[in-house]
Each structure stands twice: as C-alpha cells, then as structure tokens.
C-alpha cells in the first residue's frame, strides 16, 4: 500500500468518523445518561438534514448558518419529548430495566411518527443540493471541500461540548448523572432537568450531524435508521455512559468503515455488525471500560 493511498483512506475515514462521533456523542447522552435507547435518534439527523435543505432551497440560507437556526429548535423538541414522555415513563417504571424496555418501545413510536411526518412534508423522493462541492487538494489527494468543512465543524462542536462538560457546573451535573443518577440526585442535582437537557443536547448533536450530512449526501426521509445503528454500535464500543468513549468509538467506526469500503464496497455495514456482536460477546463494557 502506497503512503498516499494510506493517507487517503485515513483522512476519508476521519471525515466519516467525525460525523459518526457527533452522532454517537448525542446518543451517548440519551442512552448513557438518560437511559433511553433512543432508536429515533437518526430521525433527528434526518430532520436536521431536511431543515437545512429547505432553508437553503427556499431562502438560500448558507447551510453552516442554518445550523445555528435549526439547532436550538431541535434541542427544544428533544427537551420537550423528554419532559412529556420519558420523564413520565421513568416515574411509572418499577425498575430501570423496565424503563429501558418501555422507553425503547416509545422511541420506536417516535421513529414512526417523525418518519411519517417527514414523508408528508418532503415526500419520498431523494433530495440534494450542492454546496462547497469544489475539490481541495491535500498532499496530492483530492477531497470535496464540504467534507473537510464537515470534519472541521464536527471537531469544533466536539471541542466546545468537551469544555462545556468539563468546565461548567451543568457539565459536572451531567457527568455525575452519567455515573449514578440516584447519588447525583442526593448531591442536589435537579435530575429531571439534567436528563431533559441531555436528551435535548443529544437531539441537537443529531441535528448538527444532519445539517452536515445534507451538504455531503443525498437525503430521503428514510436515512435515519442506519445512522442510529452506527451510533448504537459506537456507544457500545466506547462503553455505556462514557461520553468521551463514544466519541472515540465513532472515529474508529468511521476509519474501519472506510478501510472495509476500500476492500469491498458492500461490506462496511456487515463489518460494523460483526465488530458490534463480537464486542458485545467479548467485552460488553466497551474499549475504555474496566
């Protein structure tokens, strides 16, 4: 393998990895902290993608600018869903296991609802627009500019979020809740507010990822579920409740996907599943787990 090809695969993998990391961190907040295995996570990606698409097509708003507009909106939807639905479920459930089961079903309901609404609004056809599709040359390898922008943006969001998590009081509350909800509550953390915040932030990350996706790929109302599955794999890979771990998990998945794609294009999804199942069997606590 020539060094150029190696670099090509590496950077290509990191680009997808950056996107996956964003999605995985979002799900990690919802599943790892709020304990909702939100299978409708990918639908928020789809919503973000279509919102960006519509704003660009109707008003010509720059996709990177529309991130700032759609972000708070999607955050609010996520927060509201936790407030109305999952908070009540959590109160009704006798055990955490029971809550995980019922919230899984409820989020399937959400998946159907959001997908159907999107189909009614945008129709089943494949949509796309071109933005920053010029190519950029890095050390002899050629990339589309929008992918580089997406990677940079994903890194930026991850960094901001990291500082929010490590340096602010709310971030500390989230980390405490991720470790142990009951103890965090005893230490005076307003747990329902924090869990709602986590759910909203998770949706926000998905929305960001969706906006970035729409710059690079064509979109339909059905793009969500594959992303959800990748996010679940990345979260388990990084270890449940370990937010940094899921970021690394996302990056690793992107790299592996690109390497497998280079060997045989149709096999990347199968490779993800095999890694996922083996990981569950061998080390269910994740790569960073004890």
């Amino acid at each position: 393998m020539s060094p150029l090809l190696f670099l090509d695969i590496l950077i290509g993998g990191l680009m997808m990895g950056g996107l996956y990391a964003l999605i995985a961190v979002g799900l990690s907040l919802q599943y790892g902290v709020a304990r909702v295995l939100n299978v409708s996570h990918g639908e928020f990606i789809m919503l973000g993608a279509f919102a960006t698409y519509s704003l660009y097509m109707l008003f010509g708003i720059n996709p990177l600018l529309s991130l700032v507009m759609t972000g708070p909106f999607i955050f609010f939807i996520g927060f509201l869903i936790h407030r109305t639905l999952f908070k009540r479920l959590r109160r009704l459930s006798q055990s955490l296991d029971a809550f995980e089961g019922s919230s899984l079903l409820a989020s399937f309901g959400l998946l159907f609802i959001i997908q159907n609404v999107a189909l009614l609004i945008w129709g089943p056809d494949v949509k796309g627009y071109s933005y920053l599709s010029k190519t950029v040359n890095i050390w002899g390898a050629v990339y589309a500019a929008n992918r580089l922008v997406a990677l940079l943006f994903a890194i930026l969001v991850a960094l901001i979020f990291y500082f929010f998590l490590m340096r602010t009081r709310t971030g500390k509350a989230i980390r405490a809740a991720a470790q142990d909800v009951t103890t965090a509550q005893l230490m005076g953390v307003n747990i329902h507010w924090v869990l709602g915040l986590c759910f909203g932030l998770g949706a926000l990350m998905a929305g960001f990822a969706g906006s970035l996706t729409s710059m690079m790929f064509e979109i339909t109302p059905l793009i969500g579920l594959p992303y959800t599955i990748i996010a679940i794999i990345a979260v388990v890979l990084g270890g449940l409740g370990n937010i940094l771990g899921s970021l690394i998990g996302g990056l690793i998945l992107g790299l592996i996907g690109n390497i497998v794609m280079y060997i045989h294009p149709g096999l990347s999804l199968i490779a993800y599943y095999i890694i996922f199942l083996l990981l569950l069997l061998i080390k269910p606590t994740g790569i960073l787990g004890k």
């Binding site: 295995l37 639905l85 009540r88 479920l89 009704l92 296991d97 995980e100 089961g101 019922s102 919230s103 899984l104 079903l105 409820a106 399937f108 309901g109 959400l110 998946l111 159907f112 609802i113 997908q115 159907n116 609404v117 189909l119 009614l120 599955i229 679940i232 794999i233 388990v236 149709g266 096999l267 999804l269 199968i270 599943y273 095999i274 996922f276 199942l277 569950l280 069997l281 269910p284």
Partner: protein
C-alpha cells in the same frame, strides 16, 4: 356467587367450539377474510412464541425477524423441491438450531445488552443475505412457489393450535414456574438447583421453531421475497408491541393484542395509507404511557375503579 358451569369445563368446550367454527369456515367467507385471518394467525403465533421466552424471563428478544426470515428463505430455496409440510418443518428446525447457537453465544448478556445483541444479529443476517444475493446469486429477490390461500389458512391454523397447546403446557407445568423464577432472579434460581442456562437456551429455541415454521408457510403468500421483506425489523418489533398491548402475562392477552393490532393495521393501511405509520406510532406511545399492563390490565383497572365507587 356460584358459577353455574365451572371454568374447567366452560373454557375447553368454548375453545373447541371456536376451533370447529374455524375449521368449517373457509368455504363460506370471502377470500379477503381468509387472507386477513392468515395475517392474524401469523401475528398471534409470532407474539405468543415471542412471549413464551421473553415474557417470563424478561429477556427482551428482538430477533424474531431473523427466525421468521429464515423460514421464508427455506421456503424460497426448497419450496419447489420438497413437499410443503417438510419445508415448513425444516423452516422451524433450522430456526431452532440457529437459536441454540445464538443462545449458547449470548448467555453472558443481560438486560439491554441482550436486546441490542439480538437486534444486531438479526440485522447482520439480513445484510449478509443481501450481500450474498447481490454478489453471488446475482439477483436480490427470489420467487416463491405460490400456495392457495385456503391451504395456507389450514396450515396456519394447525401451527397456531400447536403453538398455543405447547405454550399452555409449558406455562402450566413445573417448567413454566422455572422460567418465572429465572425472570424474578437468576441467582436465586441458580441456587435452588435450576440449570438456568440450559432452560433459557431450550425455551428460546422452542419459541423460534414456531417463528421459522410460520415464515416458511407465509412466504408462499408473498410469491416474491427479498432480504428486506423477509428480515424486515418490523417482524421483530410487532410481536413485542402486540404482547405489551394485549397484556404480556396472559396467553389470552397476547392473542387479543395480536388480533386487535393486526385488524387495526389493516384498517389504517386501507383507510389512511399516508398516515398509517403516524397513527401506529401514536398508538405505540399511548400504549406504553397509559396501558403498561395492556388490554387485560385495563380490565383489572376498571374492576378496581368500580369497586372504589
């Protein structure tokens, strides 16, 4: 109040009466009714056999689609080479054997890990079959030898009856109590001398036998199948939803849940094709929120409420 006829006599008589009507019915009803009944039977079998394992043990399996799909593929590959009943038996048997393997490998996993493992497994099988068909066979889909609806009806009725009888026997024997105790506490079950692992694997495998057999016969209804039809994740989720909707603890609740939701889906799909998923999703959310014990739980709630007044 003393009952005029005891439950012990009433129920079997009633059930055999219903069964006789079911057997006599086909010549007198429209083909549409037969097709609808076939779907209802299919979902009842999937739901009851799913709940046979997942109900008492609390291991939420999302692999029903895998075993159902395997039945479908057995039918698509062997349907024109072997007699129908052999194909159906093979569909069940291959599912059974695969479930033994899955059970053996996923023993360590508990709670949510087991659930996502089964989901991942079912998706892995779907994508692997898809990849194989595209890259090796050259086509995505396959044709299935069609069987007339009345034959499908009688076969489904037979599978349904066997499933119900086996489930009933298991539930009301020592074996059923063993499963319940595993669900309550695996450690405690282990301490009183139950071979927890063997029990879990065997029950899981038995439950998938019916799913595979159902897949093998229902495949003939589609005539054309491909991996995304055969291994549709909906076949994993519907049984869970139907069991919870009806009431997961009772066989009657499961039958009721499967029947009502299949009918509802049929009505929604024909009346509101564009809002079908939206309405179904809403029902799902509402059921989880307000009917955690299902329709049979509703009866108890009403009773309690009447007594209070």
């Amino acid at each position: 109040m003393k009952r005029a006829i005891s439950k012990k006599i009433l129920y079997p008589v009633l059930l055999s009466f219903i069964f006789i009507i079911m057997v006599m019915m086909p010549p007198y009803v429209s083909p549409y009714t037969i097709i609808l009944l076939n779907s209802i039977f299919m979902y009842i079998v999937l739901t009851v056999s799913w709940a046979l394992f997942s109900g008492p043990t609390h291991y939420l399996s999302l692999a029903s689609a895998a075993f159902f799909g395997i039945g479908i593929y057995v039918s698509a590959i062997l349907g024109d080479k072997l007699p129908l009943l052999v194909v159906i038996g093979l569909g069940g048997l291959i599912s059974f054997l695969l479930a033994l393997l899955v059970g053996l490998s996923s023993l360590r996993l508990r709670g949510m890990y087991f659930t996502i493992f089964t989901f991942g497994l079912s998706e892995l099988i779907r994508h692997s079959v898809q990849w194989w068909e595209v890259n090796r066979t050259g086509t995505v889909g396959r044709w299935v030898i069609a069987v007339d609806h009345t034959t499908v009806y009688y076969v489904m009725l037979a599978i349904l009856l066997i499933t119900l009888v086996v489930t009933y026997i298991i539930k009301h024997s020592k074996y059923g109590l063993v499963l319940l105790s595993i669900g309550e506490s695996e450690e405690a079950a282990d301490h009183i001398g139950i071979n927890v692992n063997a029990m879990k694997i065997i029950t899981f495998a038995i439950s998938t036998f019916f799913m595979g057999a159902t897949g093998a016969i229902m495949a003939t209804r589609w005539t054309y199948i491909d991996p995304s039809i055969a291994f549709n994740p909906l076949f994993s989720f519907m049984p869970v939803l139907m069991a919870i909707f009806g009431g997961i603890g009772h066989i009657f609740g499961q039958i009721l849940g499967a029947g009502v939701l299949t009918l509802l889906a049929d009505v929604l799909l024909t009346k509101f094709p564009y809002y079908y998923m939206l309405l179904y999703g809403m029902i799902l959310v509402i059921v989880v929120l307000f009917l955690p014990k299902g329709l049979t739980g509703l009866k108890e709630e009403v009773k309690k409420w009447l007594k209070v007044d």
